[in-house]
C-alpha cells in the first residue's frame, strides 16, 4: 500500500486508464474466442480479414495523414501470390504461403511508397490510385492470375503441416490469431516513439522537417508497414475463401477500405474493426435482400453522409461522448 501513496494523481489516473484498457482488450479477445459458437465462422473470418485490411489502411491515413487510394493493389498482391504458391506447390504449408504473399506486398509497397511520397496531399491519393490501376491491368493480363476468372481451388492445407484448416473452426482461430498479430503490430507502432513522430508529421510536416526528422523515411516505413499488413490480410483471405479474384484489385476495393475506416473512425484503433464489421454485414445482408443491386449506391450515400456530418466515425464519436461526460 505504501507504493500507491507515493503516486501522484496523474500517475494514478494513467495506471487506471491502462487497467481499463487491458480489461477491454481481454474482454474483446474473449468475445473473439467465443464468437464462432454464436455466429457463422466464415462470415466472421471475412470480417476479420477486412478488419485487418482496414486497420492497415488506417495506420497510414489515421496516424501518418496519408490518404492512399490504391490499397487494393496490396490486398490483391498478397492474395494472388499466396494463391499461386499454394496452388502450384502442394507441399507448401499455408503459413509459409501467407508469408510469401505478405512479402510480395511489402516489396510492392516499398516501390509504390517510394514513388508516392514524392507528392503530397491530393496528388498522393491520385498517384496511389493510378499505380493500383496499373497493378489491376497487370493482374488482368498476366498469364498466371487466371485473368477475369481469378484463381480458384487454392488448397487450405494444414497449418504447420499439423492442424487441418479445412475445418472452419480451426481456420477461424488461425485467422483470429493472424488478426491479433497484425493488430498488435499496429498497436505497438502507434504507441511507440516512432508513432509519435508519425503523428507530428501528420500535424505539421514542415515543422517535423525543421526538427531534424527524416520525414520521407518515416512516411515510407509507414507505407511499407501498411502495405505489408494489407497484403497479410489479402493472403489470409485467399486461404480462407480458397480463391483470389480481380475484385480485390479493383479501385472499388480501395474505396471500400476507405469507407470502412471513415465509418468506424479515422485514427482510432478500433474504428476500422467496427467499420469493417458494419460494411461486411451490410453487404451480406443487402446481397440477400431485394436491394441487392443497390449496394454501391448505398455505400456511396454512406460516404456522403459520413463526410458531411459524421467525420469522427462511430468509435470517434463514442470517444468524444466518453471524454465529455466521464472525465
Amino acid at each position: 500500500m505504501s507504493a500507491t501513496q507515493t503516486l501522484t494523481p496523474a500517475m494514478q489516473r494513467r495506471r487506471q486508464a491502462k487497467l481499463r484498457r487491458n480489461t477491454l482488450y481481454l474482454v474483446l479477445i474473449a468475445i473473439g474466442l467465443a464468437a464462432p459458437f454464436v455466429a457463422y465462422p466464415v462470415f466472421l473470418m471475412k470480417v476479420l480479414c477486412f478488419a485487418l485490411f482496414a486497420c492497415a489502411f488506417n495506420l497510414l491515413l489515421g496516424f501518418a495523414g496519408l490518404l492512399s487510394f490504391g490499397h487494393a493493389a496490396f490486398l490483391a498482391t498478397g492474395g494472388y501470390f499466396t494463391g499461386i504458391m499454394l496452388a502450384s506447390y502442394p507441399g507448401l504449408t499455408p503459413e509459409l504461403g501467407i508469408l510469401i504473399g505478405t512479402f510480395a506486398a511489402v516489396v510492392l509497397g516499398t516501390l509504390f511508397g517510394a514513388l508516392a511520397i514524392r507528392r503530397q496531399g491530393i496528388y498522393f491519393a491520385m498517384v496511389t490510385l493510378a499505380l493500383a490501376q496499373m497493378m489491376f491491368f497487370f493482374f488482368v493480363q498476366a498469364p498466371f492470375t487466371g485473368g477475369e476468372d481469378g484463381l480458384h481451388g487454392v488448397p487450405r492445407g494444414a497449418l504447420f503441416g499439423l492442424i487441418d484448416l479445412n475445418s472452419n473452426l480451426n481456420m477461424y482461430y488461425f485467422v483470429f490469431a493472424v488478426f491479433l498479430i497484425g493488430f498488435a503490430i499496429i498497436h505497438r507502432a502507434v504507441h511507440s516513439p516512432y508513432g509519435q513522430v508519425l503523428k507530428a508529421i501528420r500535424e505539421n510536416e514542415p515543422r517535423a522537417v525543421s526538427l531534424g526528422y527524416n520525414v520521407d523515411a518515416y512516411k515510407l516505413l509507414a507505407f511499407v508497414l501498411s502495405a505489408g499488413l494489407a497484403g497479410l490480410a489479402g493472403a489470409t483471405k485467399t486461404v480462407v475463401f480458397q480463391l483470389a479474384s480481380l475484385t480485390d484489385a479493383h479501385w472499388h476495393m480501395s474505396g471500400e477500405v476507405i469507407l470502412m475506416t471513415l465509418l468506424g473512425g479515422v485514427g482510432t484503433l478500433f474504428g476500422p474493426l467496427v467499420g469493417a464489421g458494419l460494411v461486411v454485414s451490410l453487404q451480406t445482408q443487402l446481397a440477400q435482400s431485394p436491394l441487392g443491386n443497390w449496394v454501391s449506391v448505398i455505400l456511396g450515400a454512406i460516404f456522403v453522409i459520413c463526410v458531411l456530418s459524421f467525420r469522427s466515425g462511430i468509435v470517434g464519436e463514442i470517444q468524444k461522448i466518453v471524454r465529455k461526460n466521464f472525465k
Binding site: 490501376q133 491491368f137 493480363q141 476507405i258 443491386n293 449506391v297 456511396g300 450515400a301 456522403v304 458531411l308
Partner: protein
Amino acid sequence: MTMIFGVPLMVFMGQLMLGLINGAFYALLSLGLAVIFGLLKIVNFAHGAQYMLGAFAALLGLQYLGINYWVALLLVPLVVGGLGALIERFILRRIAHLDHLYGLLLTFGLALIFEGTLINFFGVSGSSYPTPAALEGGHNLGFMFLPTYRAWVLVAALGVCLATWFIIERTRLGAYLRAGTENPALMQAFGVNVPQLITLTYGFGVALAAFAGVLAAPLYPVSPTMGSSLLIVVFAVVVIGGMGSILGAILTGLGMGLIEGLTKVYYPEAANTVIFLVMVVVLMLRPAGLFGKEA
C-alpha cells in the same frame, strides 16, 4: 505500301488518330479538373461520373425527347453543369473549410451513387449513339482514312479547350478566377462575390466533363462505367502535367493520347499501362509534374 518501322502507314496513322482523339478527351477532362482544383482546391472524383452523365443525357434525350445531337451538345452541358452547381451550393460548400481530402472522399461517394443508380436502370453493357447525319462518312487523305466525326471531335475538343484558355487568361472574369485562386479572402474584401464565383466555376468544370461526354457518345459505347476507368487515366495525366497551367493540361492530355496510340501500334500489351509508366518516370525525374510548380 509505305511502312513506318514495320507498320503500314495507314495503320500507323489510324492508330495515331485514335490516340489523338483519346488525347483530346484527356485534355478536356484534365482541363475541367484543373479549373475546379484551382479555385475549390478539391479533386473532383465525380468528374468521370459527370462525363458519363453527359453521354447518358444525350442518349436519353435522343431516345425519349427527340433532342438531336447539335442541340444536345449545347443543352446537356448546361443541364449537367447546373446539377454540378447545385451540388457545389448545397453539398460541397458545407465542407469547404475542411481538409481538401474530404472533398475527394465526398465526390467519390457521389460518383458511386451516380454510377450505381444508372447501372440499376441500364446495366453495364453499353448502348450506341448514332453518329449525326452531317458527320457521317469520311475522307481518304491518301496516307490515311479520316472519318468525319473523328475530325469533328478533334476540332470541337480543341476549340473548347482554347476557348477555356482564352476566358481564363484573357478576360476580366478569368482575371477574377485567377485572383480567386491566389487569395479568395482579399478578393471578397474587394467586393467580388467569391462564393458565387466558386459555384459557377464548379458548374463550368462539370459542364466541360458533360460536353466531353456528349462528344464521346457516338464514338464509344455509352455505359454507366465509361467514366470511372477513364478518370483514373486522367488522374495520371494530371499528375504528369501538374494542375498549375491550362495550356500544360491541354498539351499533356494530347501528348499522352499520342503516346498511348503509338504503344498500341508497337506493343499493344502495354497500351493500358503506358500512361501510368510515364507517370512513374515523371515522378522519379520531375516530381512536381512537367508544367507544375514545386509545392
